[in-house]
C-alpha cells in the first residue's frame, strides 16, 4: 500500500512543484529525478511484490505491475528525450520573442513549467489508473489523465493543435462520462450498499444481476474504448497524436492507451469472474477486428507520417483487444504485445520528432533520403518499421505469433485469416511509406546535426524491444502467466 501511494505521490508532488519553479534547470532536473524515482520504485516492486488484500483500492497485482513497468520505462526514456526537445524549443522560442516584442507572455504562465508539470501529473494519473482496483477510483483517475494531458497537446499553441486539443477534451470527456454511467450500472448490478472494488464484486460474481452487468460492460467498454482509441471510437486519436509534440505523442500512444486498456481489462476480469467471460470476449474480438480493418484502410496511402503512426496505434490497440477476445494462449500474447507496441511506438514517435525537426514537415512527400540527411534517425526509422510490424527478432513478432497460433489452435480460421491479411496490408502500407522516407535522393541539402539526446532514447527502446524478443527473463514470464490467469487465459 505504501509503495502504491509513493508511486502516485512522488510524480504528483513533483508535478505541482514544477508549476511553481521559475528556473528551467532545476525544473528539468526535477522531471528526470521524478522519472528515475518512479522507475526505482517499480524496480523495488519487482524485487519484492507487496501483498495486498483482495478488497484493496490500490494494489500492484500482476496486471498492474506489468503495465506500470511499461509506463515507467517509456516515461523515463521520453523525459530524457524531452530534455533535448525543451532545449531546442526554448532556443526557437527566444528567437521568436525577439521578432515579436509585444507577445503577451506575461498573461500566460511559462509554457515549459506547464509542460513539465503536466507531464508529471500525467504520469501520476496513469499510475493511479493502472493500480486502481476500485471502479469509482478508476474512473476518477482515468478522467484525470485526460485533463493532465490536454495542455500537453496544446503545447505548440498553433490553431491546429488547438483544434486537436478541443476534440480530444470533448470526445474523451463525453466517452468517460458514459463510463461513469457504466460504473453506476455496476453498482445497480451489485445491489444495495455494494462495495465497488474488483475483489468484492468478483467474489459475489454469480450474484450480480446479469442484465445490469451486461449494460454496464457495454457502457464501460464504449467509454474507456474511446480513450483507448478502439475503432470506431477513435475520432480524437489521429488528430491529437499528430498535433502534439512528438514526445507527448510517444507517451499518449505508448502509455495512455495502455492505461485505458487496463480499465477495460478490469471490467473483463469482472465479467470472467461473473461467468460472462464469453460475452466480453466476443465484444473485444469484434472491436479488435474492426480496429484492425479501419487502421489498415487509413494507413495505406497516408500522407502525414505522424497520422500514420497514430493509425498504427489504433491497429495495435485492436490487436490487444483481439488477443484478449480470443482467450486461451492468446491472452498472454496480448499482454506481451502491450510492451512490444509501447516500445516500438515510443521509438517511432521519438524518431518522427527528430525527422520533424530536421525536415520541418509532417508530410510524407517532404521527407526523402532521411538516411543521408539524418543518418541516425533514418536508421532508427527503418528499425522501427520492423519493430512495429512484428518482424523478428522484435518482441512484437513473438506476441503476434502467439496470438495467431492461439487462433488456429482454437479452430477460428476466419479470425486467423482476417488477422493475417490485415497485418500484411498494414506491413505493405507502412513499408512503402517508410522506405520512401528513409531512402532516395535527399529532399534537404547536406547533413543535419543531431544531438545525442535526440537519438539515444529511441535507440535504447529499440535495443530493449530486440532483446526481449530474443530472450524473456524468467520472472517476466511468471508475471505474465499470473496476470493471464485472471482473464481465463492458459499459458
Amino acid at each position: 500500500m505504501m509503495l502504491c501511494l509513493l508511486l502516485v505521490g512522488v510524480p504528483a508532488l513533483a508535478g505541482v512543484l514544477a508549476f511553481a519553479l521559475r528556473a528551467a534547470l532545476p525544473r528539468r532536473a526535477l522531471l528526470i529525478g521524478a522519472a528515475l524515482a518512479h522507475a526505482g520504485l517499480v524496480a523495488s516492486a519487482w524485487a519484492k511484490r507487496p501483498a495486498a488484500a483482495p478488497e484493496a483500492w490500490l494494489a500492484l497485482d500482476a496486471t498492474a505491475l506489468w503495465f506500470v513497468t511499461i509506463t515507467s520505462v517509456l516515461f523515463l526514456t521520453a523525459s530524457v528525450y524531452a530534455l533535448g526537445y525543451l532545449r531546442r524549443d526554448a532556443a526557437t522560442r527566444s528567437h521568436e520573442d525577439e521578432d515579436d516584442p509585444d507577445d503577451d507572455s506575461i498573461f500566460q504562465p511559462v509554457p515549459e513549467a506547464v509542460f513539465c508539470g503536466c507531464l508529471l501529473l500525467f504520469l501520476a494519473a496513469m499510475t493511479l489508473t493502472i493500480m486502481s482496483r476500485h471502479f469509482g477510483l478508476l474512473w476518477v483517475a482515468m478522467e484525470a489523465t485526460t485533463l493532465a494531458s490536454a495542455p500537453l497537446i496544446y503545447f505548440h499553441r498553433s490553431p491546429r493543435s488547438l483544434e486537436a486539443t478541443w476534440k480530444y477534451l470533448l470526445i474523451c470527456s463525453v466517452g468517460i462520462a458514459l463510463a461513469l454511467l457504466g460504473t453506476f450500472f455496476l453498482a445497480a448490478a451489485a445491489g444495495e450498499g455494494a462495495d465497488l472494488t474488483l475483489g468484492a464484486l468478483a467474489r459475489g460474481g454469480a450474484r450480480l444481476d446479469p442484465r445490469w452487468l451486461k449494460a454496464a460492460a457495454l457502457l464501460l467498454l464504449v467509454g474507456y474504448g474511446t480513450k483507448m482509441g478502439l475503432a470506431p471510437l477513435h475520432a480524437w486519436l489521429p488528430d491529437a497524436h499528430s498535433e502534439a509534440p512528438s514526445v507527448v505523442s510517444a507517451l499518449l500512444s505508448g502509455t495512455l492507451l495502455n492505461a485505458a486498456w487496463v480499465g477495460i481489462l478490469r471490467l473483463h476480469e469482472l465479467c470472467v469472474a461473473a461467468g460472462l467471460g464469453d460475452f466480453s470476449r466476443d465484444l473485444l474480438l469484434l472491436f479488435g477486428l474492426v480496429s484492425l480493418a479501419v487502421a489498415a484502410l487509413f494507413i495505406i496511402g497516408q500522407r502525414d507520417y505522424k497520422r500514420l503512426l497514430a493509425y498504427s496505434s489504433v491497429e495495435h490497440m485492436g490487436l490487444l483487444a483481439l488477443g484478449m477476445g480470443l482467450g486461451g494462449a492468446a491472452v498472454t500474447g496480448s499482454l506481451l504485445h502491450a510492451a512490444g507496441h509501447s516500445l516500438a511506438k515510443g521509438l517511432l514517435f521519438l524518431t518522427a520528432g527528430n525527422l520533424l525537426a530536421a525536415f520541418r514537415s509532417k508530410k510524407v512527400a517532404d521527407v526523402r533520403g532521411a538516411l543521408t540527411v539524418t543518418p541516425a534517425s533514418g536508421a532508427l526509422l527503418l528499425v522501427g518499421l520492423f519493430a512495429i510490424t512484428g518482424a523478428p527478432p522484435f518482441i512484437t513478432f513473438v506476441s503476434e505469433l502467439m496470438i495467431v497460433r492461439a487462433a488456429i489452435a482454437d479452430g477460428r480460421w476466419l479470425v486467423a485469416a482476417l488477422y493475417l491479411v490485415l497485418l500484411a496490408i498494414v506491413f505493405i502500407g507502412m513499408a512503402a511509406i517508410f522506405l520512401r522516407m528513409a531512402l532516395g535522393a535527399p529532399s534537404k541539402d547536406g547533413r543535419k546535426p543531431e544531438s545525442r539526446l535526440a537519438w539515444w532514447p529511441p535507440l535504447a527502446l529499440a535495443i530493449l524491444a530486440g532483446v526481449l524478443g530474443v530472450f524473456l527473463p524468467g520472472p517476466l514470464t511468471d508475471l505474465l502467466r499470473e496476470a493471464a490467469q485472471a482473464f481465463g487465459g492458459t499459458p
Binding site: W166, L169, L170, L180, F184, E192, P238
Partner: protein, 217 residues
C-alpha cells in the same frame, strides 16, 4: 418527501426543455447550473433518514460547485469570447424541443427494460435521469458554439449524477469528491480552451474547426 422529489423531477424536465430551446448562451449556462444545484440536493431528499455528515458534505460541495463555480467560470469564458447566442445550430430549436419530449419517452421505455434492484425509488427518477443524459448528448452534437457543447457536457453529467443518486446510496467520500473535482477541472480546462479558441480564430464555432482530416489534398 415523495412530493418534493416529484417537484424536483418536473423542474429537471423543464430545465432540459429550456436548454434545448435556448438561443442565448447566458441563459443556458444559468439553466444548467440551476439544474446541477437542485440535483445536488436530490440525495438528501431520496434518503432523508440518513442525513449523515458525509451526505451533507457532498450535497454542499455539489451545490457550491455546480450552482456557483461552474456558471462563474463559464460566464467568464463567455465574456472573454464575446459571443452571445447560438446562431445557426445543426438542428433547429423547435425540433430540438421535440427531441426533448422524445427523450423522455425513450427514457421511460428504457427504464421499463431495466428494473432497478431498489424498487423504493420514485418511478420518475430513472426516466428523467436518462432523458437528461440524452439531452446533454444531443446538445453536444446539435450545437456549434463551443460553450454550448460544454453546457451539453454538464447536462450529461447532471443526468448521470441523478442516476447515481438513485443506485448509490452511500458512495465512498473519496470517490464522490474525486468525481466532483474531475468535473470541476474539466470545466476549468474547457473554459480556458474556449478562451484560446476565441483568441486564435476570432470565433468559437466548432463547425469551422475542421482543418484536421485525412485525405486532404
Amino acid at each position: 418527501m415523495e412530493a418534493l422529489v416529484h417537484v424536483l423531477m418536473v423542474f429537471l424536465i423543464l430545465a432540459n426543455l429550456r436548454l434545448l430551446g435556448g438561443t442565448r448562451l447566458n441563459v443556458c449556462i444559468v439553466t444548467v447550473a440551476a439544474q446541477g444545484a437542485v440535483l445536488g440536493l436530490l440525495p438528501l431528499l431520496l434518503h432523508p433518514l440518513s442525513l449523515t455528515r458525509h451526505a451533507l458534505t457532498i450535497a454542499l460541495a455539489a451545490v457550491v460547485l455546480k450552482g456557483g463555480l461552474f456558471p462563474w467560470l463559464l460566464k467568464r469564458a463567455l465574456r472573454q469570447a464575446g459571443v452571445q447566442r447560438e446562431v445557426a445550430p445543426y438542428v433547429g430549436f423547435t425540433p430540438s424541443m421535440f427531441f426533448g419530449v422524445l427523450a423522455l419517452g425513450l427514457g421511460a421505455a428504457l427504464a421499463r427494460k431495466l428494473p432497478l434492484p431498489a424498487p423504493d425509488a420514485s418511478p420518475l427518477l430513472v426516466p428523467v435521469a436518462l432523458a437528461t443524459m440524452l439531452t446533454g448528448l444531443f446538445l453536444i452534437v446539435a450545437r456549434r458554439q463551443a460553450l454550448m457543447q460544454v453546457v451539453g457536457y454538464l447536462a450529461l453529467e447532471n443526468g448521470i449524477f441523478a442516476f447515481g443518486a438513485v443506485v448509490m446510496k452511500e458512495a465512498p467520500l473519496l470517490v464522490e469528491m474525486g468525481i466532483l473535482l474531475d468535473i470541476f477541472v474539466a470545466v476549468f480546462v474547457m473554459g480556458i480552451m474556449v478562451f484560446h479558441i476565441s483568441r486564435e480564430f476570432d470565433h468559437t464555432d466548432t463547425e469551422r474547426l475542421s482543418e484536421l482530416k485525412d485525405w486532404t489534398p
